[in-house]
């Protein structure tokens, strides 16, 4: 294990994070605050409660998930796409590091960033609504797993992308719809029957449901099912990454 290399990659990414701290932190906090104002205050005043929880509080887990998934994916995608674009990837290919170490460093850093942002958003939400967390350990666990799995997904996207357009394509075209149709701002029971059926095919739905359970103790699907879904998602991403590094797909000629 080339521990120095893992630490070096991780530190470099965190350094990049510090360099762009304003975009990285302020932007998500502002956009989340806007969600609170629009969804929580404006719409929430008309929707009294969802499953016994005030609407403003009900959307907090969804909002955190929304941001963490987006941040985890884009941070990780850029972390691998950027050196590829600059050509600086040659170093990682020639260095005495294996796929596991590179992934650990880059994905670890992307995960950390997403986690920091998620925590800040949770902190921000306390200014807007009153919330209590019923299962704090489970909450942290779900948050970590979500950061990990979406950082892995972003890593795959970053390797796959051949241009900045492609890099933006997946988050915009796939992630945003999945997250919005994943019950971030509503309970599945509020949807018409057709959409209720469809939502069960959306992996994000299970994540948000499980995460919401850790806050309020109730959810659209059983917690076990949520965990199972996230485990499968993570395993698929890991499998794809292992395959990429073994074959050198889009990395090695």
């Amino acid at each position: 294990m080339n521990g120095h290399a893992v630490a070096t990659i991780y530190k470099r990414e965190m350094q990049r994070f510090r360099r762009t701290i304003v975009q990285s932190l302020v932007a998500p906090v502002i956009s989340t605050s806007l969600y609170f104002v629009v969804f929580g205050a404006a719409i929430g005043s008309r929707i009294d409660q969802v499953e016994g929880v005030s609407y403003g509080a009900y959307i907090v887990p969804g909002l955190i998930m929304l941001t963490v998934m987006m941040q985890g994916t884009t941070n990780s995608a850029i972390a691998i796409y950027f050196p590829k674009y600059m050509g600086a990837i040659y170093e990682m290919l020639a260095a005495p590091v294996n796929f596991f170490e590179v992934t650990l460093g880059l994905v670890g850093a992307a995960m950390t960033k997403a986690l920091i942002i998620g925590t800040i958003i949770l902190g921000t939400s306390f200014f807007f609504v009153e919330i209590s967390i019923l299962h704090p350990f489970a909450m942290v666990g779900f948050l970590l797993l979500t950061c990990l799995s979406f950082a892995l997904l972003g890593f795959i996207i970053g390797i796959w992308a051949n241009s900045f357009e492609q890099l933006n394509l997946v988050p915009q075209l796939i992630l945003t719809p999945l997250i919005f149709l994943g019950g971030s701002f509503y309970s599945a029971s509020m949807l018409p029957p057709f959409w209720q059926g469809l939502i069960h095919l959306n992996p994000v739905f299970y994540l948000i449901s499980g995460f919401r359970w850790s806050f309020f103790g109730q959810s659209d699907v059983a917690v076990g099912t949520s965990l199972f879904a996230i485990a499968i998602f993570t395993a698929v991403c890991l499998g794809v990454i292992a395959w990429i590094f073994r074959t050198g797909w889009r990395l090695r000629a």
């Binding site: 521990g3 070096t8 600059m86 050509g87 040659y90 005495p96 590091v97 000629a253």
Partner: protein, 314 residues
């Protein structure tokens, strides 16, 4: 001396079907400087990238410092520092951080004294806190060399280190290479400048069309490559070539043009005697010029010569 790098029957066929390396075998000794000389598209970069692990070989074996690159890639790669042809570098990073990053990537513990030494050696010390982006082209290239040296490699690969670099910087680069050689680093550099190979290398390997045509000590090769042509423009036309000049091997190219071939590497080129003879004949000179065969001509000549030798041996 022990072989630092051993390449046996290395082949690389790209996905598109292009065969970039057609069974290259090469052995590079510890502490020597080998120049890979060849025209564009000869396979120089592919060969280097494959040895360094950036490109997957189709077949063949690579050993670096005795470690097999396929079965023990980490140990093999630890020996190698690579300086790519393109300025492929994170432009937003600081010079110091860029070197420190590479060192860490190669698994070496932090060593500020070493990074400082490398930066000073490359005249980059006063730029250490500047962004790579703010540097001139020549400096960026030196940062790339600094990155490769940051982890104290035993072998250094320089892919066209002076392509697009001005004359002064090129000389500076040669000095850096000389210093490294004195420190005992094995160096493999690619170039399509004969002059560069001549200035830096101990041995020269000529590669064309994905095959190593020959590997020879520089001195031997320079002797073989040393043929030059002296063209003499006369002030007035002459009808026939004076026999004294014909005896010395002068050829008449036109009524006012004479040519003379000689070996620039030999101690006695015969030019002084030729010019004396021209003066004695009462001929007036309008102009003189010398021409060395282009690298392509030399390649063709060498390959041809080689084939003839092979035929003779069979």
């Amino acid at each position: 001396m022990a072989a630092m790098i051993e390449v046996e029957n290395l082949r690389k066929t790209y996905d598109g079907g292009f065969e970039a390396l057609k069974g290259v075998s090469l052995s590079i000794e510890e502490g020597e400087i080998l120049a890979l000389l060849g025209p564009n598209g000869a396979g120089k970069t592919t060969l280097i990238s494959t040895i360094c692990g950036i490109t997957e070989p189709t077949s063949g074996t690579i050993r670096v410092g005795g470690f097999d690159a396929a079965t023990n890639p980490k140990a093999a790669r630890r020996q190698i520092g690579i300086v790519p042809q393109e300025v492929n570098i994170d432009m937003y990073a600081k010079v110091w951080d860029s070197l420190a990053f590479t060192r860490g990537l190669w698994g070496k513990p932090r060593d500020d004294a070493h990074i400082e030494k490398v930066l000073r050696q490359l005249s980059l010390w006063d730029k250490k806190d500047g962004n790579v982006m703010s540097l001139s082209g020549g400096m960026k290239r030196r940062v790339l060399i600094g990155k490769a040296l940051s982890h104290e490699p035993n072998v250094l690969f320089l892919d066209e280190p002076t392509a697009g670099v001005d004359v002064e910087l090129r000389k500076g680069m040669w000095e850096v290479v000389e210093e490294l050689r004195q420190a005992g680093t094995t160096i493999i550099l690619t170039t399509h400048y004969l002059e560069e190979a001549e200035a830096m290398a101990d041995r020269i390997a000529v590669i064309t069309g994905g095959e190593i045509r020959l590997v020879e000590r520089k001195d031997t090769l320079m002797r073989r490559m040393g043929h030059k042509t002296l063209t003499i423009e006369l002030a007035e036309s002459i009808g026939t070539l004076p026999p004294v000049l014909a005896e010395k091997g002068v050829v008449m190219e036109g009524p006012q043009t004479l040519s003379y071939s000689y070996d620039s590497a030999s101690g006695n080129t015969g030019i002084t005697r030729l010019l004396t003879a021209i003066r004695d004949e009462g001929l007036k000179l309008a102009d003189l010029s010398t021409k060395q065969s282009s690298l392509e001509e030399i390649f063709v000549g060498l390959v041809h010569e080689d084939d003839k030798e092979k035929e003779a041996a069979e």
